[in-house]
């Protein structure tokens, strides 16, 4: 991995900071977010590591992480982060960028109809929100 000052402060990193409203440098990588994340074990790349990639200007590494889609926006990380860093917003920003690029991992129209039959309204709406908007 080559580090350059331009890479660290790329347009994309700035965009993610803008969308999330969080300064990526604020996180000091203590890992408490990952320690409490309810779905960390599914994520492959732990949440704090996603932030680390961004700190190093490696936005593509962050985008690739399944963690971005596994994140449930539960705010556990944010509510316990010693630095008051809102990681759930960063995850949302990453999703937002991907969605705006048209890179959703699933398209809603591909979802099985049974899913919608049983699921409550709230689930359907939030599912659309996560994968479409």
């Amino acid at each position: 991995m080559k580090l350059t000052r331009h890479g660290l402060h790329s347009e994309m990193i700035e965009k993610i900071e803008r969308i999330s409203g969080e300064e990526i440098s604020k996180c000091y990588q203590c890992g408490k977010c990952s320690a409490g994340c309810p779905v960390a074990q599914e994520m492959g790349t732990l949440p704090h590591r996603v932030v680390r990639h961004l700190q190093l200007g490696q936005d593509e590494r962050a985008f690739e992480a399944e963690a971005v889609w596994f994140c449930t926006s539960c705010h556990t990380c944010e509510s316990r982060c010693p630095k008051g860093f809102d990681l759930s917003r960063v995850m949302e920003a990453l999703r937002a960028v991907l969605l705006r690029r048209g890179e959703a991992p699933v398209r809603p129209e591909d979802l099985p109809a049974e899913l919608f039959a049983a699921a409550p309204q709230q689930a359907i709406v939030s599912c659309y929100r996560k994968y479409v908007s």
């Binding site: 803008r18 969308i19 779905v39 509510s79 917003r89 937002a96 699933v106 309204q121 709230q122 929100r129």
Partner: protein
């Protein structure tokens, strides 16, 4: 006191028992709930991207309408509470976003209104003691595991619902109506409902299964929640995952309304189905 009631989409569809028992409980406790005239879905999730202003329009409209009507809002759906309350905070604190919303929705609203959860009203206005005095039925020490999940509690400084690491509001309510609240470690953990769908969905079940297991290990006979999404997710996962513990999942208002005298049927308690154990314990089978 009269409140504007915001049931939310799910209570009008899959979670009717939540809606009915909420209204009945409020009535029994002298809280007047009048459903807002025209409300729209709040969007179910509060938009975390700072530029997703458009997603705030619906909750903003609901907030503005309630204010216009001169009522404070009451909801019981954790999702709605989360979205409405956080939107209101944002409107209060972020002038730029507010101006955008005012222009867009064409309502002049600056966050003057308030949003309550019914439980908060019971705690702060009515008082759990007084709720307790008005109960008509005994819950027979039914061992209930209150499940908070994410949306009621987090982010704590915005929701200000209860202590985010040791909430007591459901416990106190349950104790007041004669149930035995069971404490278990995962009661504030995420059930994983907002996880990815499709092929990845199976993995989410682990989060929900863990919650279920934690409650069951603590000796609970049922779980109560205030979130239809949680309720669905917990029940669903327990069915999907072979060998998973299976506890009945109820809305808190179902047991509340039953204790306050509403009949079991209207409370959505099914002695023959999933709720058999619960019903037996609180004597519903016998009454029949």
């Amino acid at each position: 006191m009269k409140y504007g009631y915001y049931p939310g989409c799910t209570l009008h569809q899959q979670a009717e028992e939540f809606d009915v028992t909420t209204r009945e409980s409020a009535r029994a406790l002298g809280i007047e709930l009048e459903e807002l005239d025209s409300w729209q879905c709040c969007g179910a999730v509060f938009p975390l991207a700072t530029d997703a202003v458009i997603n705030l329009a619906a909750p903003f409209r609901a907030l503005a309408a309630a204010y216009e009507a001169g009522v404070e809002l009451v909801t019981v759906c954790a999702g709605c509470l989360n979205v409405l309350r956080r939107t209101n905070n944002l409107v209060q604190n972020d002038d730029e976003t507010r101006d955008k919303l005012v222009d867009f929705v064409e309502e002049d609203y600056a966050g003057e209104g308030r949003v309550h959860h019914l439980l908060e009203l019971l705690r702060d206005e009515v008082g759990f003691e007084s709720v307790s005095e008005r109960t008509k039925r005994d819950l027979n020490g039914l061992r209930i595991a209150p499940y908070y999940g994410c949306l009621l509690l987090r982010p704590p400084d915005e929701m200000e619902f209860d202590d985010a690491e040791d909430p007591q509001i459901l416990e106190n309510m349950l104790a007041g109506i004669g149930a035995h609240p069971v404490s278990y470690p995962l009661r504030m953990d995420c059930c994983g409902a907002y996880l990815p769908i499709g092929e990845l969905e199976e993995r989410r079940n682990r989060a929900a299964v863990a919650v279920m297991r934690s409650a069951s290990a603590a000796g609970a006979e049922a779980i109560v929640t205030s979130c239809p999404l949680c309720a669905h997710n917990l029940e669903q996962c327990a069915q999907d995952v072979p060998g998973a513990e299976m506890l009945p999942v109820l809305y808190f208002s179902q047991v509340l309304a039953y204790a306050l005298g509403l009949d079991a049927d209207s409370c959505g308690l099914e002695p023959d189905g999933l709720h058999a154990g619960v019903c037996e314990k609180i004597g519903i089978g016998e009454v029949k």
